[in-house]
């Protein structure tokens, strides 16, 4: 009998240990955030001890590795925004169009074929899209517009657009599928065409989630790295011509990491300063997306 009691005690001790252990596991996520914020700030604060804040955010010359050094981040930000805008022009309308087709028009059998295709597109690594941009999209662009440079913003934008399209499509489709069928049936009973139901009923009802999907897609394009590192170029020059070579914030970060940079050098600090700007840009976009969903949540 006493050995039974001992065993039960052992079981309870195991319970206690496991619960505390799992709590430590759960703490890893909080710790990750803390470490990200800490390391970004640590190096960035040192960086701003050497480079004036004003010069960094308003300067239009970006030559952190060449003499004379200059740390104006505007060319990188403009390059990043060009990619975000260019990819949005492709991903947002085509993604939304695909979602409307899948939720309002497509036959069950068609859905069964099209959905996996979008899933495959979403699962292809970004390095592959980068290769596709450089070796396929760019040569075609050069055929149409001979002044296109080998590395250019347009080609990378198209590839980023193709990559973010499935995400826009699947999030928008989920939102439209969540609109109750009774509302649609009501519109059909009034004699509406599918077009009228989609544009006047389903889309307005799903608008907030579609908006959030759009913002998240733009955020993803801002943080996208390998496509721009391969296809957009490494020239941090302030330009608005999409056929020219540019550099994005992420492109710069990859480029500078390819060399062996030492801790404590200005290059190392610059890497983290740019990372901090990138982190806050995407964080703000993600917070906006969450706010849109929260504020306009329709309850049926």
């Amino acid at each position: 009998m006493s050995s039974k009691k001992y065993e039960i005690q052992k079981l309870h001790r195991a319970e206690f240990i496991v619960e505390k252990g799992l709590m430590l596991f759960a703490a890893v996520s909080v710790l990750t955030t803390a470490i990200i914020v800490f390391i970004l700030f640590e190096e960035t604060i040192v960086f701003f001890g050497e480079v004036p804040l004003w010069d960094f955010f308003t300067g239009t010359q970006w030559t952190p590795t060449l003499q004379p050094r200059s740390f104006g981040i505007i060319p990188l930000v403009v390059g990043t925004l060009m990619i975000a805008l260019g990819s949005s022009i492709i991903a947002l309308p085509l993604g939304l169009g695909s979602a409307i087709y899948l939720s309002e028009y497509a036959h069950k059998k068609v859905r069964k074929v099209v959905k996996p295709i979008l899933e495959v597109l979403a699962g292809i690594p970004s390095i592959v899209y980068g290769f596709f941009a450089l070796t396929f999209i760019t040569p075609i662009l050069q055929m149409i517009l001979p002044q296109t440079q080998v590395f250019n913003a347009l080609s990378a934008s198209i590839a980023v657009g193709i990559m973010t399209l499935p995400m826009v499509a699947s999030m928008s489709e989920d939102a439209m599928m969540a609109v109750p069928d009774s509302i649609r049936q009501g519109a059909y009973a009034l004699g509406s065409t599918r077009f009228e139901v989609a544009v006047k009923v389903t889309i307005p009802a799903a608008m907030s989630s579609i908006g959030a999907a759009f913002v998240l897609a733009i955020s993803r394009a801002i943080g996208e790295t390998m496509i721009v590192a391969i296809a957009a170029g490494q020239s941090p020059v302030l330009t608005l011509n999409p056929l020219n070579s540019i550099q994005t914030m992420t492109g710069f970060m990859v480029n500078i990491s390819m060399g062996d940079i030492q801790q404590g050098t200005i290059e190392f600090k610059t890497l983290f300063a740019v990372g901090t700007v990138l982190f806050f840009m995407t964080l703000i976009m993600n917070l906006i997306a969450r706010a849109i969903i929260k504020k306009n949540r329709e309850v049926y």
């Binding site: 996520s29 990750t32 085509l94 695909s98 899948l102 070796t135 599918r194 943080g223 970060m253």
Partner: protein, 287 residues
């Protein structure tokens, strides 16, 4: 007059239908062209010699072996770490805490914020924390830990959903037999949730397998001419090797990069196939 309006509305509907079909067609065309581009360039270079050779300065001799072995090392460790941490976190949140309690809400908010952080920022975390601060250097371990943190939010959320879908009745049946909480979790909840956990995790692990940016930050090199023997060795992985080849000016290296991409996609496909097999095995056991 009404007839005309009717016709116009239906014409509009048809045109819209065509336009939407065009959107879908765009994706299908893009995928076809992408596959064509890769296979037409890479298939000719893909042979046994390519799979079993080290990288080389001359394209004819270059191979992908060190990157393939590096990828298997990194993904093996990443899967191990992220499954333990992710499932552990999910069990804690779902089974041990009240969803309305502050600790649960803070962790939940954290997880959804972390899911939106760009991969390259995780690379900075890996560089500053694992490589420098903890002194793991540019090792497989640093790379695997970095990728673990990157995919942890996805795995945790997938595991939470799977655990939430376990019927209450099963848990109560288990308790009525006099089991402890831990016995119920390991004996009932986790086996039942396993197919869902595996489905979500494999997507996340596939993503980790295709990531290049965070590993470049951590120091995965583009040129490794030896096979890693342990988790503290320097390494390269398939995507980083492909990036290295793609950025070289000689045209032959583009073909090698394409051959490397075929290998990467084959590895991704087989990982997915293994996941589906595992899932089916567990599903059969539950039925």
């Amino acid at each position: 007059m009404d007839q005309k309006l009717y016709q116009r509305r239906h014409l509009k509907n048809k045109l819209f239908h065509l336009l939407l079909a065009g959107c879908i067609l765009f994706s299908i065309t893009a995928l076809t062209l992408l596959l064509y581009d890769i296979f037409s360039k890479g298939l000719g270079w893909l042979d046994w010699q390519f799979l079993t050779s080290m990288p080389s300065r001359s394209p004819e001799k270059a191979g992908i072996l060190s990157a393939l072995v590096g990828s298997i090392w990194v993904i093996g460790l990443t899967s191990l770490f992220s499954l333990i941490l992710g499932v552990g976190t999910a069990v804690y949140l779902e089974e041990y805490t009240d969803p309305k309690k502050w600790i649960n809400r803070i962790i939940q908010l954290n997880i959804s914020n972390l899911a939106g952080v760009p991969a390259i920022v995780y690379g900075l975390l890996g560089l500053a924390f694992f490589v420098r601060f903890l002194g793991f250097d540019k090792s497989i371990l640093s790379g695997a830990l970095t990728l673990t943190l990157l995919i942890l939010p996805v795995i945790t959320v997938a595991a939470q959903e799977a655990i939430r879908s376990v019927p209450r009745s099963l848990r109560e049946a288990s308790y009525s037999l006099g089991t402890t909480k831990l016995q119920t979790i390991t004996g009932v909840v986790l086996p039942y949730a396993m197919p869902g956990i595996l489905t979500g995790s494999i997507l996340a692990i596939s993503r980790a397998m295709g990531e290049a940016a965070p590993l470049i930050m951590v120091g995965a090199a583009g040129y490794i001419a030896f096979l890693p023997k342990g988790p503290m060795d320097w390494f390269t992985v398939l995507p980083v090797q492909i990036f290295n080849w793609t950025s070289r000016p000689q045209e032959e290296f583009q073909y090698i990069a394409a051959a490397g991409i075929i290998v990467l996609m084959a590895v991704l496909l087989s990982a997915n196939a293994v996941a589906i097999l595992l899932r089916n095995k567990y599903q059969n056991r539950m039925d």
